[in-house]
């Protein structure tokens, strides 16, 4: 059961259904891309999986390696092996990157154990170098005054430091120029492993030129309407989302 498995998930916001019988299974070792127009429920899905309490889950199940994570606290879900790279990473004034990641790493150790500072900084610096993040950033307040690209690289840095089983990346590519996009993609590709699954949520195909997905899903109006291989992303890019609507949605409705 080494997978992130979502089954018939129904989620409301203010009584309004957003996710409708949504199902998706991501086995370890695979990268799945989830594409779709704005407002179709992609970010809602990401936040519900991560345990955000503002959403009303009316039915369904989310299993992480066979264990239900639905209804658990966000920190428990994180410790169970999930990582969500935010579409809009929050600025945390006065909390440095180094202290923030350190607190997250500390949470993964038994209570009477503390982090080896030397090893921690070595790992942090190595991974910052790989992501081309200036080492001076360790002392800066998390995301405060960062450019869009710096924020997204910092998300990937956190992801690589915390080594989750499953990574959800919510529009990590939005707002990135091509250089930043390549750096982020390199970071993800380095983490690619038979022991790790990815869900890459994106509006555009561009990122998928650099991170080649195993499966591409097209989401529309709260559910997946079509799935295919990496070619599907390209087809979607050239034909547009109207093609999805015309080809898959209307047929579903009938």
């Amino acid at each position: 059961m080494q997978s992130l498995e979502i089954t018939n998930l129904n989620v409301n916001i203010d009584g309004q259904p957003i996710l409708k019988d949504f199902s998706l299974n991501i086995p370890k070792g695979e990268i799945h891309a989830l594409m779709g127009p704005n407002g179709t429920g992609k970010s809602t899905l990401a936040k519900v999986i991560a345990g955000h309490e503002d959403y009303e889950v009316t039915s369904g199940e989310i299993l992480l390696n066979g264990e239900s994570i639905l209804g658990k606290e966000p920190d428990e879900i994180s410790l169970a092996g999930l990582f969500l790279a935010f579409q809009y990473p929050l600025e945390i004034p006065g909390v440095s990157i180094a202290n923030f990641i350190r607190a997250a790493k500390q949470a993964r150790l038994p209570e009477n154990e503390s982090i080896n500072a030397v090893e921690y900084y070595k790992e942090l610096y190595d991974k910052m170098d790989a992501l081309k993040i200036d080492r001076k950033f360790t002392a800066r307040s998390l995301n405060e005054g960062f450019s869009g690209g710096e924020k997204k690289r910092c998300e990937v840095l956190q992801m690589s430091m915390l080594e989750p089983d499953y990574c959800i990346m919510d529009e990590t590519d939005s707002g990135l120029d091509i250089d930043a996009l390549k750096i982020v993609a390199d970071g993800v590709n380095l983490m690619r492993s038979p022991e790790r699954g990815f869900l890459i949520i994106t509006h555009y195909q561009r990122l998928l030129d650099y991170i080649i997905p195993d499966v591409v899903h097209v989401m529309y109006d709260g559910k997946i309407v079509h799935s295919g291989d990496a070619e599907l992303a390209k087809e979607l890019e050239s034909k547009g989302y109207d093609w999805v609507k015309d080809s898959f949605v209307s047929s579903l409705a009938q």
Binding site: G51, D75, S78
Partner: protein, 433 residues
């Protein structure tokens, strides 16, 4: 009504006439002025002081164990170049300045020593004036009783880079302490002084009426920090005033953690152009604590900057009051004056009051004032939780982070780290999962 004066007759006999006069006038002010009430604008939102102030008396020399406790806990400032430690207003230890600074004319004296041997140094400044922010009555009590404190004189052009520390411990129940700090920084001098106010026990209910006065001469660079960490029974008044002259650089930082009720008045007057004055404060209020903060930034000269930032975190049913006034006199053109109060409410029962104010008589100035009061941002919290950081730790990091912009201005890594530890200790018991 002289019954409340606790001055020692032996000390009195040695005191110069000017000082005796100021003490008498202080005593009269104390006796004649009424107990302030919330109807007074300077006391708006403050809870009524129901305590019998006269019941607090100067305490005799403390016993050895109290002195030992004070000495072994006077550690907040690491490696001070000189140090004075008082318990109940009695000097119990001093580390004098190094000889080379004394040879340059620097003086760092206990108040008694200064009164006895350097009366001429004191006379122009000592007890002459205080804040005009509502506590004149209590300044009067301070003036008539003060016998402990530090006098720091830095001659022209002398720079001292290492910090000087003064500790004032309260030890006796119903004890009165009146610590005084006088800093005279001559032109182009540089100095940093840290006052620490604390209690030797958790139980002794003491009244602190401390006053400080900073005289910043042209181009002097003065850094003054005060850390108030009394036990939760203490009543405290801190009455700080400062004068900045031409091109004076003055940094004030006040850390407020202790006391049942603590009133902090800070008044700065800029009398010369090109001065740059900062006033920062960090307060953590819990249980039924009340922090009452009154500030006054006066610009009497053009082209100067004053920048105030007061940050408060409030737990439980605690209260804070921030009332600040910027006054820019006619002719003080090109003034930059800022005043910001930020309150972080960690319990919906807590109560933060803000009364920012401006009074501008010049027409070419940049002034701003603002106050915000808010809760922990739920999105920030979710972000931190989503990294596996437990709720309790996330809250601690956010609150500590809220204060970091003040802490990093402490200018000393070791002091900053010691203050962070004090805050973490306070939060550890406060913030639970």
């Amino acid at each position: 009504m002289n019954t409340t004066v606790n001055t020692h007759t032996t000390a009195n006999a040695l005191e110069p006439q000017w000082l005796l006069d100021r003490r008498n006038s202080g005593n009269e002010t104390y006796s004649n002025l009424p107990v302030p009430s919330a109807k007074d604008e300077n006391w708006r939102f403050a809870s009524v002081l129901s305590e019998d102030i006269d019941a607090f008396k100067s305490a005799p020399m403390p016993e050895d164990h109290a002195i030992d406790y004070a000495l072994s806990n006077s550690k907040l400032v690491e490696d001070p170049i000189a140090e004075l430690i008082f318990v109940d207003d009695h000097l119990v230890q001093s580390k004098p300045l190094p000889k080379e600074l004394i040879d340059k004319g620097v003086r760092f004296l206990s108040l008694n020593e200064a009164i006895e041997d350097h009366s001429h140094l004191l006379e122009p400044y000592f007890l002459k004036d205080s804040t005009r922010l509502g506590s004149q009555k209590y300044f009067g009590l301070h003036a008539s009783n003060v016998k402990a404190g530090a006098v720091l004189y830095v001659p022209k052009g002398v720079e001292i880079n290492e910090p000087i520390a003064v500790y004032h411990w309260s030890n006796t129940d119903k004890g009165l302490i009146c610590p005084h700090t006088l800093i005279i920084a001559e032109a182009q001098s540089k100095v940093s002084l840290i006052d620490v106010l604390a209690s030797t026990t958790e139980e002794n209910r003491c009244l602190n009426i401390s006053a400080s006065n900073i005289q910043g001469h042209p181009s002097a660079n003065i850094y003054r920090k005060v850390i108030q960490n009394f036990n939760s029974k203490t009543l405290s008044f801190q009455l700080d005033s400062a004068i900045a002259d031409r091109d004076t650089q003055l940094e004030n930082i006040a850390i407020n953690l202790g006391a049942a009720k603590a009133r902090y008045e800070n008044q700065i007057k800029i009398n010369g152009s090109g001065a740059h004055v900062t006033m920062y404060s960090l307060s953590v209020a819990e249980e039924t604590q009340e922090f009452d903060q009154r500030t006054f930034q006066t610009h009497n000269a053009p082209n100067s900057v004053s920048d105030l930032l007061y940050k408060n975190a409030l737990f439980d049913t605690s209260r804070t009051i921030f009332s600040g006034l910027i006054q820019v006199e006619e002719g003080a053109q090109q003034t930059d004056a800022y005043q910001t109060n930020r309150n972080l409410l960690l319990d919906q029962r807590a109560d933060a009051n803000a009364l920012p104010g401006l009074e501008i008589l010049a027409n070419d100035v940049k002034c701003s004032h603002g106050a915000t009061t808010g809760n922990i941002d739920e999105d920030e919290l979710f972000y931190m939780l989503s990294r596996g950081i437990p709720h309790r730790v996330a809250m601690q990091l956010i609150v500590l982070g809220f204060f970091e912009e003040i802490i990093e201005k402490l200018g000393s890594d070791s002091l900053a780290e010691n203050i962070r530890k004090l805050l973490e200790e306070k939060f550890a018991s406060k913030i639970k999962s």
